[in-house]
Point group: C2
Chain length 348, copies 2
């Protein structure tokens, strides 16, 4: 995809883009974190109108969206204005939706500042906000004019934030090849200089872009990107409902293990790769605790996933790394058996 | 455009569409008027989930949109569900936006029940709501899977509603040819059997569709559809601000006269056609009263039109019927002279 650039010279790259466009006004959307920590380092935005939104998933709602619309109108934005989304996935998701709906759509650029946003949220054209307690319930498919993917902001990220993004990197590697997956599983994630990770990040983003290119609105193939997420979302929702929220990426990592167990059970995914994955996940993310008593609740959550069309449970499974089967219909007994095996593997 | 059907057998046509789709749920969006007067006559919707919204432009806002989203969620809509927008332009504009943003987009069908919606709002892919007092400030370009254009609901419409839509029919004719315009100007709009108007309505809608097809997101040619609207919107906004709102189509009709005066002044639009138009408009719509003291306010409103990029006043003008010039930059003295001439022509 030609509109994704990989560069740790963010200011230069963004400056070139802005100067090449015929914009009458440049706005930058930030949260508290990126306003303080990132914005001051991007010289070409020193005269941009600053639009603010709350940080964190709880701020990804209709009130914040309305506030962003109002701030854009107040600073005089027209259809020829540009919005730069500078932040994590919450900023790029909400900012993309705000831009796509303001006066029926203005140009926007994503500059993801977290690993999770860089590898997932900021590319692929999904935008959204949460509504009625449902994740990304309201949104559109809309592509930024430019995404600038960099790793120069990652060294200062909290370790939890890095790990959360790394689960999506892992997912892309599993959709790519055994070799890609093993390269990641051999990394010591606690001592990486992320500035040097840009090539690997590019490879990871390109796995996603290739799939999205073939199926932009999620009619088929794009569902392969859902690997780990059918179960992961259920873990995330259950944890939230119990008042003990877990980071999205952690839930995805645990979900990857369960869905790889299912892949092994149903499609003979190699057991060695399953064990390598499970070992890495328990080391890096710890286990996710639940008991037999939670199975029914988890199954109910999976049946009401946004991507479920008839309240059946459909997963993307792997025959092996790089060989995906979408829309695999999962039997309730199989999912329960997979939960049992997961708990054994994770020692919970 | 293959997704617009012209038929006074609305129930049969809609039934065929719904049965041809693989929808797990059908919803119909109505306002008070269409729930009572139209919905009972469409048998194929007797089992549809009814979603309600307020009638009238003042209900075309974010609160109504959120209410529609909530009602869709409550009745169990998924990405494979269908929303039928049954109503005037407020229903098709808001319903289109609701469908386009719900779970990142579900299918929708427009069944316009007013002349204005049939000839304008329901076709062309614009959706929107008003926000911060600005018309259609928030919206997206999104195409319905099907539009069913009919005239069978028009005979019971209030005369004001019919006249409002007729201004857009007139605009399309002026963008088409002298002959098309004269055919309309010779009609006695007070004694038409609208069921017999379907062929003429089709010709009118197709003028718009041809233009939209060539320029779906309003980069250039589509601006020709703005004929009459730069001035018309200013009339509409000023009337609203004075607490004496006028119907949109009336404002467009008066705007057409002013912009045709400008076309005559700057591009030698034939004076005979200008006089014919002015006579029809004053007979049908009455005059719009304003004085020299209002000129500055009207000009300020035009400079802040959503379609103005640099606070300049750009109009679509005509060399003659069927020969449009877009982005014509209007000098302030010319607009004032045109207002003078308009007031003469209309006797105000």
């Amino acid at each position: 995809m030609k509109n994704v650039l990989y560069s740790n010279e963010v200011n230069t790259t963004l400056k070139t883009f802005i100067e090449g466009g015929d914009y009458n006004l440049v706005m930058v959307l930030v949260d508290n974190n990126t306003r303080q920590l990132v914005l001051p380092h991007i010289a070409c935005l020193s005269n941009a109108h600053v639009i603010e939104m709350p940080s964190g998933d709880e701020g990804k709602n209709i009130d914040s969206l309305m506030s962003v619309w109002r701030q854009m109108e107040h600073c005089g934005a027209t259809r020829r204005s540009l919005l730069v989304n500078l932040g994590g996935g919450v900023v790029t998701d909400l900012g993309g939706l705000a831009a796509a709906t303001f006066k029926r759509g203005i140009h926007f650029v994503n500059v993801p500042t977290t690993l999770l946003a860089a590898v997932d949220a900021s590319v692929g054209g999904k935008t959204g906000i949460n509504f009625m307690g449902l994740k990304n319930e309201i949104g559109v498919f809309a592509h930024p004019q430019q995404v600038i993917v960099s790793t120069c902001f990652f060294n200062t990220l909290p370790q939890q934030e890095i790990k959360s993004g790394f689960a999506e990197v892992l997912k892309h590697a599993m959709l790519s090849s055994h070799e890609e997956m093993m390269t990641l599983l051999e990394m010591d994630i606690n001592s990486v200089d992320w500035r040097l990770f840009l090539d690997k990040l590019q490879a990871s983003v390109e796995v996603k872009l290739k799939i999205v290119d073939e199926d932009p609105t999620e009619q088929g193939l794009r569902k392969s990107l859902n690997l780990g997420h059918t179960v992961g979302h259920a873990f995330e929702s259950m944890a939230l409902a119990k008042g003990k929220p877990v980071p999205h990426g952690y839930a995805v990592a645990w979900g990857l293990v369960v869905e790889t167990v299912l892949s092994h059970m149903k499609l003979h995914f190699p057991s060695d790769d399953l064990y390598s994955l499970a070992r890495f996940v328990v080391d890096c993310y710890g286990p996710f605790h639940f008991t037999c008593d939670d199975y029914d609740e988890l199954i109910s959550l999976m049946r009401h996933d946004k991507k479920s069309t008839n309240h059946e449970i459909n997963c993307s499974l792997l025959k092996k790394c790089g060989d995906v089967v979408i829309n695999y219909n999962i039997d309730l007994n199989d999912i329960k058996a997979a939960f049992d095996i997961y708990r054994d593997l994770m020692g919970v």
